[in-house]
Amino acid sequence: MSDLVKLKVDTEACIAGGQCEMIEPDTFLVDDDTAIASVIGTGSLPVDRAAEVIDRCPAQAISIVNSDSE
């Protein structure tokens, strides 16, 4: 099993492209009113899937939560 990493969305950068929700519907939700994505559920994904969703975000708004700082 690959390691899980926790993800976060930069709400200033998000443009509601909806890619995260499309690829990982259990981890991301675009709010219908604010049109900003946020992390739902455990907010964690295996490293490879985290890398994919980070790469697919058009606004470069998704990143890994650094466990040392939080």
Partner: protein, 414 residues
């Protein structure tokens, strides 16, 4: 510097009458570095690989959409300004504008229109089935997207015919000839200041403004109301010019492109009966089939950026202020990203196509709407066990920008 002087000129519109010059693109993908391509008095850097396209698309600070133009040719500064819409902005303007309207296009809010899309699709499809044969573009692929976007915007049914007419003139504007006189529709604006240099744009602006005014006074559950009411927390709103250009962009961008995807999709399914048989046997494949239709059709062949500083791409030095053109049509056939890229495979698992852009901030705003329209058409065809045969060669648009099909005869398979 690799130069392409004797090879086919990929900007020659007439080349596309025979289809996308895939062989030339494959050569360019296999040429180390980035190929310089002549165009008019200058030229551009032709980005043809998937990975390089992504780099350019994501790095909006170096590869600007706001400088010059996002089409191959430059616009004069005043024309660029008058015609500027979301698509020709960089952040922070881009982020600001996009966030003002993004709400209406989130996956869930688009799903609210599913019944509307289905009603229109069933209507159009059943009429085609009754006739048994005809031009698939005119009878099915063209009416669906325009009727969907006009309904969503809130254009009253009685005006739909007029707006369809206007949008057809715009499509004409992407080709070589225009049939309208400069003063058509009472236009007095210099044509170079209008999108597509078309007087029909003036008429669309006027119509959009009148409808916006009406919705400001009497809000409805439609997109125009969303646009005129769009307001950020800090009170920021769309300016008059932003609203008008956006109304125009939604009608054009939501129309020609989806028409192209539906036309090429129907052709691909007719030409690959084994693939359509897979979908009929397992309708769960409709989602991946939709992505494959999008990759296969690549309705927008390229978009341009302009460098704001000196940079390096795939080992090639690129100066400041130079044109860089991302050929989505080539990235979507890149053998280092897609397995068997020239195979039409409705079950393709790894399919990060760039039909909605190369992965950066200008990712198509209407992507989930376009997907919905393709999904619903495939669902309704599958539900009826409808297979299509192609009975003629497609007439392709002479355009290096849109992968247009002007007409293609199809019949309902018995």
């Amino acid at each position: 510097m690799a130069t392409a002087t004797t090879a086919p000129n990929i900007t020659d519109p007439s080349l596309y009458l025979e289809g996308i010059p895939h062989e030339r693109f494959a050569e360019m993908r296999n040429t180390p570095g980035i190929v310089w391509h002549p165009y008019n008095d200058g030229g551009f850097w032709a980005v043809t690989r998937h990975a390089d396209t992504k780099t350019v698309s994501k790095n909006t600070a170096t590869f600007s959409s706001a400088v010059g133009h996002t089409n191959l040719w430059d616009l004069e500064a005043d024309a660029l300004e008058a015609r500027r819409s979301l698509i020709d902005t960089d952040s922070p303007d881009h982020t600001r504008l996009r966030r003002l309207i993004a709400r209406a296009f989130t996956p869930k809010n688009i799903r609210r229109w599913e019944d509307t899309v289905r009603e229109i699709t069933v209507d159009v499809l059943e009429e085609f089935m009754e006739k048994g044969s005809g031009d698939f573009v005119a009878e099915v692929a063209a009416p669906i997207p325009i009727r969907v976007i006009l309904t969503m915007l809130g254009v009253p049914v009685k005006d739909a015919g007029y707006l369809v007419e206007l949008s057809n003139y715009l499509v004409e504007g992407t080709g070589e000839t225009q049939s309208l006189p400069a003063d058509a529709f009472g236009n007095t604006t210099e044509l170079r200041l209008l999108p597509f240099n078309s007087p029909a744009s003036h008429a669309l602006f006027e119509y959009g403004e009148a409808l916006g005014e009406q919705r400001r006074n009497e809000p409805q559950d439609d997109l125009v109301t969303t646009l005129v009411q769009a307001e950020a927390e800090d009170g920021d709103r769309l300016s008059g010019s932003e609203y008008r250009n956006l109304f125009h962009l939604l009608i054009f961008a939501g129309n020609e492109t989806t028409r192209t995807a539906l036309s090429h999709g129907a052709m691909a399914l007719a030409d690959h009966p084994d693939q359509w048989a897979r979908v009929l046997a397992d309708p769960e494949l409709i989602d991946s089939a939709t992505e494959e239709v999008l990759r296969w059709s690549t309705p927008v062949l390229h978009m341009r950026r302009t460098t704001t500083e000196e940079t390096e791409l795939a080992g090639t030095k690129i100066g400041a202020g130079e044109k860089v053109v991302m050929w989505y049509a080539s990235a979507n056939r890149d053998e280092s990203e897609f397995e068997n890229p020239f195979k039409f495979d409705v079950g393709r698992e790894h399919n990060p196509h760039f039909s909605f852009g190369g992965g950066g901030a200008h990712l198509c705003l209407g992507a989930f709407l376009a997907r919905l329209e393709i999904i619903v058409l495939l669902q309704e065809m599958a539900k009826r066990g409808l297979s299509l045969n192609r009975t003629g060669e497609p007439v392709r648009a002479p355009s290096n920008f849109v992968h247009g099909v002007l007409s293609v005869d199809m019949e309902v398979a018995k």
